[in-house]
């Protein structure tokens, strides 16, 4: 679905007169591949290059060196760009920055309308997308009157209406309350499991990652670790070095282990921990 080959991206910093002051390498030699239908999580501290990398996945940025292929299409070829943006949709952090319609259903219809879809089919897509994210009863509502989690789900519906094969979520829950976070993550998982859409989730919340098929950890522009959530979260100390953490359950299990209880590393859920403790009793 997504493949990058020695991807490098450099920002050129300029002073007030436009002279080059320096070059920042935000992405530095990334090779990764994502299979269709996978749920991928990308972790990394602020400034590690996660978002810059993600913006290559729907041709918002082009590589300085190397290549990016989306469903076999090279992002650098201009003729591919609209097809790529339709195949790979993006949901950003702030729901208020990505909603443009006065009414929910108009906002969701904006994408397919721009693709030149016939009106009748647009309405079908709008209805189906809103249903998928559980927002159909709000189709006539004004987005201003929705909660953060609801607005974010409308943004997701807007992406789904374009029938993408892949959706990239760039910190979609950073501004939401616990309930809103749950709603959005639930929607992302359902899209993956039911609709078989490939999901790329970028987040700072470790709890959201435990269901992913694969986790990439970025540091200084390159992929520092990759593996299943269990493999990644077994390395508590390494993650801390990378300014990250682990879910609270995993940390508790880790500390209990250090204090002498024979628990396995990489416990991810409450249930697992309770069962392990029962076994020890």
């Amino acid at each position: 679905m997504i493949r990058t080959k020695n991807l490098v991206f450099e920002y050129i910093r300029r002073d007030d007169e436009g002279n080059v002051e320096g070059i920042t390498r935000a992405v530095d030699g990334v090779n990764l591949s994502v299979e269709p239908g996978q749920f991928i999580a990308i972790l990394g501290h602020n400034g590690s290059g996660k978002s810059t990398l993600a913006k290559h996945f729907n041709a918002l940025l082009y590589p300085t060196e190397g290549e990016v292929f989306i469903d076999g299409l090279n992002t650098e070829e201009d003729k591919n760009i609209w097809e790529i943006r339709q195949k790979a949709g993006m949901v950003f952090q702030n729901p208020d920055n990505q909603i443009i319609g006065q009414v929910v259903e108009e906002d969701v219809g904006f994408g397919p309308e721009n693709m030149g879809i016939p009106t009748e089919e647009i309405w079908e897509r709008v209805e189906e997308s809103l249903k998928t994210v559980g927002m159909l009863q709000f189709r006539k509502a004004s987005p201003n009157h929705l909660s953060g989690g609801q607005k974010q789900r409308v943004s997701i519906a807007g992406v789904i209406a374009m029938h993408p094969k892949c959706i990239i979520f760039d910190e979609p829950t950073a501004m939401l309350d616990p309930n809103g976070r749950k709603e959005v993550i639930r929607a992302a998982r359902a899209l993956n499991e039911v609709e078989n859409i490939t999901i790329i989730l970028i987040t700072h919340y470790m709890e959201e990652v435990i269901y992913a098929d694969k986790v990439f950890v970025m540091d200084k522009g390159h992929v520092e670790m990759s593996g299943t959530p269990r493999e990644i979260f077994s390395q508590v100390d390494k993650l801390k070095e990378l300014r990250l953490g682990v879910p609270q359950v995993t940390l508790l299990a880790h500390e209990l282990r250090n204090a002498g209880l024979p628990l396995p590393e990489g416990i991810l859920s409450r249930e697992e921990l309770i069962n392990e403790l029962k076994r020890l009793k």
Partner: protein, 283 residues
């Protein structure tokens, strides 16, 4: 010496068709030196509440007292109040605007009309308090990382020498280490300088780890107001209003139900660890 809200009501767009209440009969007393957590789902009235505490909003009815004086009395100096009750908004780094960090921090005290020397001294102290290195003082704030920018923004408020510091989700959008650094910084300000802290947060784990008291808002009313242990004991009610307890609280509840001899009123990782080790006779 405290902030007191006495039967405060606030209605948005009063006398219009859009009128809706944001605060309903809120009574609170926040004594000096407390570290308070304020939680509630989006739209529960948290932000409206904190804007009442430094006089940015005026109650539709009821009164707000600071140090025993009604802040909406005709002769009350609300400008001075805003220096004493510092408010750090969400994503405060969006408000940075100067060409270098030092100048940005100077902006607040300069507006208080202080002499230049005092302004610079305060800016210097504030940047030191947030753990900012000298070498970055004259850098553009826009070249810094997210966590560093946020420190500069907090320093800008500290330079006003506030007695109370209100922070609206100071860790939103930061990586785990950045979150921990900012929370440790806030905790240090509370301990070393005795500043009253009101921390608005969506992270129950953070709130449980740091604060002495939790105020829970729901639909404009105070739903709970107690120490963390007591508040999180109501985890089922909290879930109904869109919140939750820290993960460890759930673990301890489930362990207790499974027959382990543990105290289920646990809200921090450290306590959970000790309780479980005790149950296994390892302590």
């Amino acid at each position: 010496m405290s902030i007191i809200l006495d039967h405060v009501n606030y209605i948005y767009d009063e006398d219009t068709a859009m009128a809706h209440p944001a605060l309903i009969d809120v009574c609170l007393n926040i004594p000096n030196g407390q570290f308070v957590g304020l939680i509630g789902h989006t739209g529960s009235g948290k932000s409206t509440l904190i804007q009442h505490m430094n006089g940015l909003e005026k109650p539709t009815s009821g009164s707000v007292f600071y140090d025993g004086k009604d802040i909406h009395d005709a002769d009350y100096d609300r400008k001075a109040l805003r220096a004493k009750v510092g408010l750090v908004f969400q994503y405060p780094e969006h408000q940075l605007f100067e060409t270098d960090c030092f100048k940005d921090v100077c902006f607040g005290p300069k507006n208080l009309g202080l002499p230049q020397k005092e302004v610079e001294l305060r800016a210097y102290e504030a940047l030191k308090q947030v753990g900012f290195d000298d070498e970055y003082f004259y850098q553009s704030p826009f070249d810094l990382s997210g966590g560093q920018k946020r420190r500069v923004a907090i320093a800008g408020v500290l330079a006003m020498k506030p007695e109370v510091l209100i922070l609206d989700e100071p860790t939103a959008g930061l990586d785990p280490k950045g979150r921990e650094d900012i929370l440790n910084l806030i905790s240090k300000l509370h301990k070393e300088m005795g500043i009253t802290i009101i921390l608005v947060s969506h992270s129950m784990e953070d709130v449980a780890n740091y604060v002495q008291r939790i105020i829970v808002m729901n639909k404009g009313r105070v739903a709970f107001d107690d120490e963390p242990k007591e508040v999180f004991r109501h985890y089922k009610e909290l879930e109904q209003i869109g919140l939750a307890a820290p993960q460890v609280t759930y673990i301890m509840q489930e362990l207790k139900q499974a027959g382990f001899p543990v105290d289920s009123d646990v809200t921090t990782l450290e306590d959970a660890k000790n309780e479980i080790l005790k149950a296994f006779g390892k302590c």
